[in-house]
Symmetry: C2
Subunit: 451 residues, 2 copies
């Protein structure tokens, strides 16, 4: 679901639904270095391994209009070396020691991570601190990397009708806010990105006072404090960071539809996005209610949508819903369904709307409320066993304006969500005037012409 996170791996997206459980998870420590770098330490002593993540509080929503794709392009360019470490050396070292690495860009943040044996943490920190301000870019490395990014856009979007529809739906959902543009960028704008623009963006946003270091694994807060101060503490603040004030949405008052027809579509589908508050913009308890609402509506085979459309009416092969609450600004709650052969998209949409209308009118049952909440809280507890998911969850939350304490207390807040709160959230936010409905259909015009 989280289209704004398409550039992260699939596992990251799952992590967003699986936060820590207050009081049960590891003792998390956080502090800030004198140069402004926030540090989060998540102890996990089961294996002598560490996850080292550096998050920058900058993403595609912070790009200058007309330069979409720049945050993601810079993420690629961050592997091009510094005066101290030539291009490729960092990745080579990670590979040699049997580590894993990755990087990801989203609307609100950009992150770099390595998972390595614990005795290599210092090396990772040295590499990461070095490229925080030391990146060296030449046209020789920038041009070919642009081709790599364009090919990525080809593969992920241009040749993927569902992804293209998602882009067009985001553009229609957001009338004014930069979440309306794709994280990977509009192709015609990616093509114009260059070295100077990337360096300017880098100098403006890559600075210790705009970053969060998350270290999870077989470490203690004390050693991380010492190590981080010694290595990252030397990196000077190079930029003054302004508050992230993006253009906000006007009152949304007109339901939209977007239809994408493509000859390659083998399975038509229906999607709906609603513009809703994020955990950062919501009133107290409302983001949690939306989380529970989306769970009851569309998470798994017990959900309303699945039970009604797939099981009872047997008009859909799949159906579900999701809520992407980890965002600086207003986000979306999405609903989707794919029809069985013989069911048209308008028929399917009518059935989806009936499920939503029933929930708005009659609320949820005590039984489904408890089942969903238990499931969500259990997931959060299990997430404590997954070092990388936990690091991801804290990083993404802190990068979008949530505190460590708020993340820890999330299960407690979920436990407090009442049936009334879920119904109220449905009434307030499942408002078609704040929505866009997407139709993915097979384009049969070519065949018609042939006959």
């Amino acid at each position: 679901m989280p289209k704004r996170l398409t550039l992260a791996t699939a596992a990251f997206a799952a992590a967003l639904a699986a936060p820590a459980y207050a009081g049960i998870g590891p003792q998390i420590t956080n502090f800030t270095l004198s140069n402004g770098l926030e540090v989060v330490v998540i102890p996990d002593h089961r294996t002598p391994v560490v996850t080292h993540m550096l998050w920058y509080k900058v993403g595609s929503a912070d790009e200058t209009p007309g330069k979409s794709g720049l945050a993601h392009f810079l993420e690629h360019l961050m592997f091009k070396g510094t005066a101290k470490n030539p291009a490729g050396r960092f990745s080579e070292v990670v590979a040699t020691i049997g580590g894993q690495e990755n990087a990801f860009t989203a609307a609100d943040y950009t992150g770099y991570f390595q998972r390595v044996p614990r005795d290599k943490l210092q090396t990772m920190m040295e590499f990461e601190a070095d490229r925080m301000t030391g990146l060296v870019l030449t046209d020789e490395v920038v041009r070919p990397e642009l081709d790599v990014v364009l090919e990525e856009q080809n593969m992920r979007v241009a040749n993927n009708p569902a992804a293209r529809l998602g882009e067009q739906m985001d553009a229609a959902l957001y009338l004014n806010h930069p979440y309306g543009r794709p994280v990977i960028g509009w192709r015609h704008e990616i093509e114009q990105l260059d070295r100077e623009g990337a360096l300017e963006f880098y100098r403006r946003f890559y600075s210790p006072n705009n970053a969060i270091l998350v270290v999870a694994g077989d470490v203690t807060p004390e050693e991380i404090r010492t190590l981080a101060q010694e290595i990252y503490g030397k990196v000077p603040r190079v930029a003054e960071i302004k508050p992230r004030v993006r253009p906000q949405e006007p009152v949304q008052e007109a339901a939209r539809t977007v239809t994408l027809a493509d000859p390659r579509v083998t399975q038509p589908s229906l999607s709906r996005y609603y513009l809703v508050p994020s955990s950062t913009t919501a009133r107290a308890g409302e983001s949690e209610a939306l989380d529970v609402l989306s769970h009851i509506l569309g998470h798994g085979a017990n959900s309303r949508l699945y039970q009604t459309l797939v099981v009872d009416k047997a008009i859909a092969v799949s159906a579900g819903a999701g809520y992407d609450g980890t965002a600086v600004d207003n986000t979306r709650l999405s609903v989707f369904a794919t029809p069985k052969p013989g069911t048209s998209l308008p028929q399917l949409e009518e059935a989806v709307d009936a499920v939503l209308a029933d929930l708005v009118a009659n609320g949820v049952t005590a039984e489904e409320l408890e089942r969903s909440k238990s499931h969500m809280i259990a997931n959060a507890v299990y997430a404590n066993d997954n070092q990388r998911m936990l690091a991801q969850w804290y990083g993404a939350s802190l990068a979008t304006g949530t505190t460590v304490e708020q993340v820890r207390a999330w299960p407690d807040r979920i436990a407090l969500v009442s049936a009334d709160a879920v119904r109220d959230a449905a009434r307030r936010w499942l408002d078609k005037r704040r929505s866009v409905t997407g139709y993915l259909v097979k384009d049969t015009r070519h065949e018609e012409k042939r006959s």
Copy 2:
């Protein structure tokens, strides 16, 4: 039709369809002062009156995202006085001498005009040159004027369901380009506009090298050259003006709809916007073909849409089309129809689509081509008799990248449009994937609840 021009008076919109006729109109002279001010002189000696217009090549599409409405707000603030001329004096003088004045803001330009006896031209120039760089703004005048603008937004947009639908359609038509936001601004952003922002915008864009002076009336080029040099020539260049490079549209590949339901709607209606080239972005001849196409399709009672929907099928009370070619970037061709009672919007849309499909498939007849072209050229010839329309036409054209010679030759280019060119333009640009369809409907939910 030209929603982007809503802040200009209705007469101006009409003028855009009525350019000069080459070789027949007045001898137009144009030159540039050493400080960069372009000057256009349009002699018209029938009455001892002059139209004095100053155009700035800046409009709502040049605003910083998040500050929508600033160009228009500044237009209002331009009447707040200078060190030399306190607030109100300029307007008072115009009124005292029996003149008229107005100002207007569009996506691509902002203009100020007075129509006065010819012996008062120098006075107008002095006032206008004075406020080009001499504006003085205090919070005492800015705050109340913001309330005036908010009330204007209330009247023109908030309380006008059709205008609100138009805003939402523009936002859906433009996925990336600033033409997607309203000229008057999004209300929540207008509310945040302030003195500092207005002054910054003013200093950035109000400079002789970013302006066009148009003088039409009982004057000679020689006297205007002398007068303009003497008065406007003294105004220093205060800003370096960068090329107007706005974020452009990605490939449009998904048809959109927007539905606005409001209890106050008494007459439902259907609109369709297509994203098409403007006279500035089109290939040679294509903008003229689009002009003829929109005329054949929807101008007057002989047009295809009117004949089919209102006369033959009798399912609509009105129907038409328009093309707004005077724009820096890609613009729109619009189609509209209002149903007779008993006709649903989907039925009406099907009939509209049939008219468009027929034109795309079979092109236009020689007879309708000639009739439309003659009508358009005749309109252009008649426009030569309207001093203000002519001044408006030249000003808007020059402010959006067209030359005086191109404006003059427009009727000749229209005369050259072939039936094939019209059909080709229809085939290429009446593509639903590049369109948004708007439905304005009565919201009956309240009544349903009552029953």
